[in-house]
């Protein structure tokens, strides 16, 4: 979708890829579907075997895997931090996912998921480090190229890097002239720091950011792809994110979560504004999801 007001503010032609309207409310459904399909096709020769998958997720991937599994007749075990928003837990249950709670740390998420995998024989579908998940996220690029004439740049929010790697690999192959910009909260800037240092530098501690879907660090599978295919990382403040989120709600009438607003905030920054007009006219901004607790909105706090 487009918005003339946001075009005026940014001085660019912005094209918003509305993954908040995707099944389960975020782009994560693409990668989840692809990964679950792989599990099913890998086990085609044992049709009687009960298939299951397991993952650890703060919300969007959890819902995506649950629904992707449900529609393909597979059981989904979802490891979720105990402090995940209630609406996300309810959504996972409504899609048939079986929740296993863990502590809100990276360590606990991983360990609990491993335990479930061992106990049940479920196949792990990592939220962002699985190649099948990354490939699924990359399918956005095919659509973008059909929907937008002459893409100059794509702005992609980054948490674990699954979408950024999938999109950047596909884009560099299909439209190599297009620049790829990652957009990241300053408070969770592991991707920016890694790019600056030239080596993977995960966050030292759980970040404090309104973007609950971007709290994970980029990982060993996504980092090399990001390093080699992403042109730059733009970081934005919490205030910039909240302002961008409110702008999209008010002017575009779309419900997007804070993580989605990161890309919008990025194109409004001085840094992005300073990019040359030449070759930076048609900018695709990915609105990655719309799963937000309506009772706890950032501007109400």
């Amino acid at each position: 979708m487009t918005c003339s007001h946001l075009n005026q503010l940014s001085n660019r032609n912005l094209f918003f890829k509305c993954e908040n309207l995707q099944k389960t409310g975020s782009f994560k459904f693409r990668g989840a579907c692809n990964a679950v399909s792989k599990v099913v096709s890998t086990n085609q020769k044992s049709p009687d075997r009960e298939l299951s998958v397991v993952t650890h997720s703060s919300g969007n991937h959890a819902q995506a895997v649950s629904l992707a599994a449900q529609v393909q007749g597979v059981t989904a075990h979802i490891v979720m931090p105990s402090n995940s928003p209630a609406v996300k837990k309810e959504a996972v249950r409504s899609y048939g996912g079986l929740i296993v709670e863990c502590e809100p740390t990276e360590q606990s998420r991983v360990a609990t998921a491993d335990q479930v995998a061992e106990r049940t024989g479920a196949t792990m579908v990592h939220p962002n480090q699985s190649p099948d998940v990354m490939a699924g996220q990359g399918t956005m690029v095919f659509e973008i190229l059909e929907q937008v004439e002459r893409v100059d740049a794509i702005v992609v929010p980054v948490g674990g890097g699954g979408m950024l790697s999938g999109v950047s690999v596909a884009a560099k192959k299909l439209c190599p002239h297009a620049k790829i910009y990652a957009a990241e909260p300053k408070n969770a800037d592991d991707c920016a720091v890694s790019m600056a240092r030239g080596e993977l530098t995960p966050l030292p501690a759980p970040p404090v950011t309104v973007c609950d879907a971007l709290k994970t660090s980029i990982g060993p599978h996504t980092w090399p792809i990001i390093r080699d295919h992403v042109d730059d990382v733009i970081t934005v403040t919490e205030e910039e994110i909240k302002a961008a989120m409110r702008l999209v709600w008010e002017r575009m009438k779309l419900v997007i979560e804070p993580s989605s607003a990161v890309g919008v905030a990025a194109v409004m920054t001085d840094r992005f504004q300073r990019l040359p007009a030449d070759g930076h006219q048609n900018i695709v901004v990915i609105l990655c999801g719309g799963n937000v607790d309506l009772e706890h909105l950032p501007w109400m706090r």
């Binding site: 979708m1 609406v87 008010e250 009438k253 779309l254 419900v255 997007i256 309506l294 009772e295 501007w299």
Partner: protein
């Protein structure tokens, strides 16, 4: 002009006129809502329309027609409205290089006054009564020569709203019913006349808050029965009575009008915001509430593929907590 009846050709011309100016808004679907309704629902997203509501269509058409009917300098336009028509008229006027005077009650939401000003409209505040709105508007018209563009009772406005019906027939070939909210009746009049002229098997329903059910009462009695008071419904865009110009179209072309409670409106808000990720104002989800109501679900007539118009998305975000149901009634 007031006596002129709007027919389908009067709607097809605006459709061409609006191209490139108004959006052909998307039609979206939602599996969860289909399950709840027991039908396939097709949501026409006029919250994504220019100025945030379907009103832009009628406003743009009316001003365009005015311009093409005069050889001299275009006159300014004037209206009285606290909401979506104000914003729509201001934006349409700005795009057509015409001055818009908008009379707004002093109590109108600040964000709406600012939106009108942001679109280049001149806001004239008045006491919040019907009388003051009309008198102020008449004074401005006399002083400036501005032409009055009603929010729903002008044939060109009705014709403009009817373009939604043309788009729906193209976008949803399997359509067999349409539900639209009804306030002044401009949208219901325009859409219903298109349906009954081009595809009479498509059933047309209005949707109205129970607290403001003048249209439902009128349809049941066969004569227009306006309310004598300003109803207190959260669907603030539907507080006005169905007007005398829209009424004959509604009487002739609408199959029924479904009334919904405030609670049903809040439930619909929660579902649309949470499941469809769309910002829609309470008036805008009244059609959804109707589609999910027990009375509509119990109907036996064939209505498997039902278009529901989400009429607009202009609201004060700070008021959102009061507009949602406490827990989602799934």
């Amino acid at each position: 002009m007031e006596a002129q009846r709007v027919t389908v050709p009067d709607v097809e011309t605006p459709a061409g006129r609006l191209q490139g100016h108004a959006r052909e808004t998307p039609v979206l679907t939602c599996g969860t809502l289909d399950e709840l309704a027991g039908r396939r629902l097709y949501f026409k997203c006029e919250n994504l329309q220019k100025s945030g509501s379907f009103k832009f269509r009628g406003a743009y058409n009316a001003i365009s027609r005015l311009l093409s009917s005069t050889n001299q300098n275009p006159p300014p336009v004037v209206t009285h409205s606290s909401g979506n028509h104000a914003c729509a008229l201001a934006l349409a006027a700005h795009q057509l290089d015409v001055t818009a005077h908008v009379v707004m009650p002093r109590t109108a939401p600040q964000c709406k006054k600012e939106t009108v000003r942001g679109y280049g409209g001149k806001v004239i505040e008045c006491t919040p009564t019907e009388q003051a709105r009309v008198e102020t508007m008449e004074r401005i018209a006399a002083e400036t020569g501005a032409v009055y563009i009603s929010s729903s009772q002008h044939p060109d406005v009705i014709a403009g709203q009817g373009t939604m019906g043309l788009e729906l027939l193209r976008q949803v070939p399997e359509l067999d019913a349409v539900i639209t909210p009804v306030g002044g009746g401009g949208m219901l009049a325009g859409v219903s006349l298109v349906m009954k002229s081009l595809n009479p098997h498509v059933r047309v329903y209005g949707a109205e808050p129970e607290l403001a059910n003048d249209a439902a009462t009128s349809l049941a009695k066969g004569e227009r029965c306006p309310l004598s008071y300003y109803p207190d419904t959260i669907a603030d865009g539907l507080r006005i009575n169905m007007g005398p110009v829209a009424w004959p179209y509604i009487r002739e072309n609408v199959d029924d009008i479904i009334s919904v409670t405030e609670e049903e409106i809040k439930n619909a808000m929660t579902l649309i915001w949470q499941r469809m990720k769309l910002v829609v104002e309470p008036s805008g989800v009244v059609g959804v509430a109707a589609a999910l109501s027990d009375s509509f679900k119990a109907r036996e007539e064939p209505a498997k593929n039902v278009a529901v118009i989400l009429s607009g998305g202009n609201l004060d975000l700070l008021k959102l907590p009061d507009l949602l149901s406490v827990s989602e009634h799934v």
